[in-house]
Subunit: 631 residues, 2 copies
């Protein structure tokens, strides 16, 4: 028997095991990798170029690849044979237009921090079927004929709804028995979501959404190649009905409140969809599937389900995952055939967003213990490994996304990126995203600002400005004492931009909730910080966080810096991988089942830890050896 | 180990195996038989009386049962022990009001001609659930809580639709966690069709329909007890768009034709539902499920599916069984929660009605070979046993249901039941259903009439009246020669009632199609009439058929009379048993898979047999030794 070699195709994650000596082009085609070989594999067209990332290939160098590129690993699939386990990366013909997964959002992503072992086999699969037209010797019924053809593609016991069955005779005949099917994975069986005439299998996209309380982020995905075709972010329009989940739940008690909140979130989704469809220049009909991840309140509001029991003891969600259904029924502007899948949640304050993040970053697959911190409006913390997962949630408030801060904003052009100051004069040095005039302070900006003010002694450990400081930028404003970050001339709207004690109070409450949550969760399972081998920081905001600042203000634990890792928006990452892989979809269900929720809202230890954390960096300074003033 | 005894409870068909010596009341309760024992089993209330039908019981005679009744087999369950296999029949407290299954339609039914071995476990099952209210130590989500409770009742992986999930939090809380569920069997998984507040499990009825081309018959069923609560029959309103399936298919080619035909059949169903609901004095909300059986064209029209491909070679149906769906979506006036199940068909002219009949009468369970003949507008014939089933269909026309006959009518009050005549004078002696004046001729009436006229020599073997006969009742009418059955004074509407040569031509074509179908089917599998151990006659019409007449006119084969058996409306019988039993439901799917269809419409042998049968009784008189004139 020949040696078996595993071949992995990045970025789509396709993987196949082949005999030693198999041609790489054959391996790619068998794995379903959408590679073109226009010349038929003769080595003359160059359309099957890949980069050798890891492992060995036996390859010929042809005139189409110069020596430098060949040394750097550029190969033609058709001129290469597999000689051992190997990983290659595809070059898309549209490589310039397309963004590879993670290229933008995950720029600090450690590659080992992704779930592994999955195959690129989207939850929604599109297939072109040529049915054999019936004749007098084979006149089985239309539905059975369609089912047989689906069966041959590996789709068994598919749920086929009346909408499709009703029009089947006319549809199959007018399509001349050549149709494309979209089958969506689901429980207890996959569903036939769409039946189209002809071969439309190349038009196959999906959208992954992270539905945050404050912001919503979407990615338009090519479900044939695994490329991200477009990305977009917007504030959740529900914001006008309340900044946090509690106020939104309260709003639902008004007549028509739930309907308005559902409409607000679908309005935002619709505008993001329009933006991304335009950006990627695709036809909306090509959208095959939606995957959303959100906290439990966001998910229930999107599905129009009364969230009232979520805020009252015993804090009971309506569902783990709602039934898959046409997204259009919820008011989302996509074709009727597009089913929406919501990643399952665990508890009232541990939603699909956190399950999505844990699934996406693969903590549930590893031996080592990780601590996962998703810093958003709702702070969510998970500790565990492949055998156990415990989770807790604490209301951090919208501070880290720019909410609850007078000049707060999302991390976009015009936001402070870095902030230092001259300890003598108290004069600041700012860098602003996009190099423009300052418009406001984003989450990472506020950490850096508070840290710098605190380190310089201008701000006390209680979050109050030092009244004796002679810094001319400290003054009494309408919200109490404040520090002027820039004067009007340097601000985008000509107004002084300040950070006030009220802003800082909000920030301290937010960071205290996160830190106290970590502390309580770790204590509850009887381990210490030293047992944790990696701390995964999720949240788009985490990508731009300055670890030193975050530790020195007492937001993150004071441990070896190399333990910190960043995955950006974990919820969106998990939603994307769930779109891409049925194995990840099933893993998500498993992760939700595995998670034990520690309810902090009625937990005495958490309250103690929280109060102890309402200081810069903490009442117990031994916990933060690196954080002395001026350190 | 104790001896095992099988106990069967009639009429509901419940069956259980218990240890020898088990109390009969315990056995009944374990088998889910809805028996009351008001006194708690002390033998004093008499509410658990049953009749001993077969087998042995060890019973005490108490004061509640007199000696005569005890000798005849009346027993108290609570005073009886099982000592061997035994069959008992329940007495309902409502016995006077209720009709037992088969009492009316199946009055000539041989009991061995029912499917056996099934349990009373309806496709739709209603359960009262008391959910444990959530608390802080058990705050799993509402959907999971409902699923767990369903799981405890044996319902796993139930499909729960968005309509139910969306309102779950409010519904469960306002119901104080006490609800009733209706779960309907289905592929690939059972569905939660309805969720009601409180315990409504006693309100649980279903409707079985046989949707014939000419007439529709319904039965309202108590799904807790197996009793038939009401029955009703009406002409299919589609009749005004064409008498047979071919003309209805043709009508669908007109703009709006399909919609009108769908509305016509649902109009008829709706009026039957109204009639039965009134008759039984039930609340429409108690309806849990519909089961329909019809030929393929009727089923497609009911589901609004274009039947055009059914009439053109290669004769392809749209589906075997359409997806279960809310009947209300088809325009049927039942609550939204009522799902409709259509028994699967096999081919264009072998529909769910025939599968239903074969399933209901149990031919597919037996070693012996049976021939099944369903005499309706579409004549359907099946031969086979537990190992094989072949089937064929031939268009018999509406003759046997009174169509295509000038004075034809369904077998109802005023129709000729029997007809004889004085061979000397040609004067008739009629008996009329209900003993009233004659209104018309039903299917069995026309067979008797044609037979009597033929036997008397008034009608020739070619179906023409003997022009030389001096019978004063023969005359030339507007449709050619005719025989006056009654003169106006004895007719309900005061008009002469006649049977014309045109009527007789239609009849001969109908009977020729049936006989030729049987002949061709038997020949095709290489067996002879002598290999067939029973001939099952289905069709309501079959119940009143005179076997001698039917053989002498050449409709049925001339074999030993004891081979003939009658099941009445087989389609309705199968639909009712399918309502009652998930095993029968699964058997129906199996029967549809087993059946091989012999397409007669392009079959040369059939055409030859048909032409040879266009005589009274047949061109080959050796086939009908009993049928000589005057025999």
């Amino acid at each position: 028997m020949k040696k078996q070699c595993e071949v992995t195709f990045k970025p789509i994650g396709a993987r196949i095991t082949v005999d030693e000596g198999t041609g790489l082009l054959d391996a790619a085609l068998s794995a379903g990798v959408p590679l073109k070989a226009t010349c038929g594999g003769s080595g003359t067209c160059g359309s099957c170029k890949v980069w050798l990332i890891e492992g060995m290939l036996e390859s010929k160098q042809t005139a189409l690849i110069n020596s430098t590129d060949f040394k750097n690993g550029l190969r033609l699939c058709c001129q290469s044979r597999v000689t051992g386990n190997v990983t290659v990366e595809l070059l898309s013909s549209k490589a310039e237009d397309l963004q590879k997964p993670g290229e933008k959002t995950d720029n600090r992503l450690h590659h080992q921090l992704l779930a592994t072992g999955w195959h690129f086999q989207p939850m929604a699969q599109k297939s072109a079927l040529k049915l054999k037209p019936p004749d007098i010797n084979d006149n089985q019924n239309d539905l059975k004929r369609l089912r047989s053809a689906l069966g041959q593609k590996g789709f068994k016991d598919v749920i086929i709804d009346y909408d499709i069955v009703q029009n089947l005779p006319g549809f199959l005949r007018s399509s001349r028995w050549e149709v494309s099917t979209t089958v969506v994975s689901g429980r207890p069986a996959p569903m036939l979501a769409n039946l189209e005439a002809g071969d439309t299998s190349q038009m196959h996209t999906g959208i992954a959404f992270d539905i945050g309380t404050t912001a919503i982020r979407g990615q338009l995905l090519d479900l044939n190649t695994g490329y991200i075709l477009a990305e977009a972010t917007a504030y959740n329009s529900q914001g006008s009905y309340g900044e946090d989940v509690i106020s939104r739940i309260a709003y639902c008690r008004r007549a028509g409140g739930l309907v308005r909140l559902q409409k607000a979130v679908t309005d935002t989704l619709n505008s993001l969809i329009t933006t991304m469809v335009k950006q990627a220049k695709i036809n909306k009909q090509s959208i095959s599937h939606l995957v959303v991840a959100g906290n439990t309140v966001m998910t229930q509001l999107l599905f129009g389900v009364d969230p009232e029991p979520l805020r009252l003891s015993p804090y009971v969600p309506a569902f783990d995952t709602p039934p898959q259904m046409p997204a259009a029924s919820l008011g989302i502007n996509v074709p009727r055939h597009v089913y929406i899948y919501a990643i399952p949640g665990v508890a009232s304050y541990v939603g699909g967003d956190i399950v999505s993040g844990i699934t996406g970053c693969g903590i549930y697959q590893r031996e080592e213990i990780s601590l996962y911190i998703d810093i958003g409006t709702n702070g969510e913390i998970v500790a565990g490994n492949k055998d156990w997962l415990v989770t807790a949630a604490c209301s951090a408030g919208p501070t880290f996304e720019g909410g609850g801060i007078k000049f707060g904003m999302l991390a976009a052009q015009g936001a402070t990126e870095d902030f230092t100051l001259d300890p003598e004069t108290g004069e600041p040095a700012l860098t602003v995203i996009g190099g423009v005039k300052l418009a406001g302070i984003c989450g990472s900006g506020i950490i850096n600002t508070v840290c710098a003010l605190f380190q310089a002694g201008i701000l006390g450990p209680n979050g109050k400005f030092n009244r004796e400081s002679n810094c001319p930028r400290i003054r009494e404003g309408e919200d109490g004492y404040e520090y002027v970050m820039v004067y009007g001339a340097k601000a985008q709207n000509g107004e002084n931009i300040v950070i006030s004690e009220m802003d800082i109070d909000n920030f301290i409450r937010s960071k205290a909730a996160i830190f106290a949550g970590c502390q309580t969760l770790i204590d509850s399972v009887g381990i210490g910080l030293e047992d944790i081998e990696s701390i995964v920081i999720a949240g788009t905001f985490g990508l731009s966080i300055n670890i030193e600042s975050a530790i020195k203000v007492g937001l993150l634990p004071d441990v070896a810096r190399e333990k910190f890792m960043f995955i950006g928006n974990g919820s969106l990452l998990g939603a994307r991988l769930t779109s891409f892989s049925q194995e990840i979809y099933h893993d998500g269900l498993k992760v939700a089942e595995m998670m034990t929720n520690l309810e902090l809202s009625e937990n005495g230890a958490f309250m103690d830890n929280y109060i102890a954390s309402l200081f810069l960096p903490h009442t117990d300074s031994k916990k933060f050896p690196s954080a002395g003033v001026g350190a």
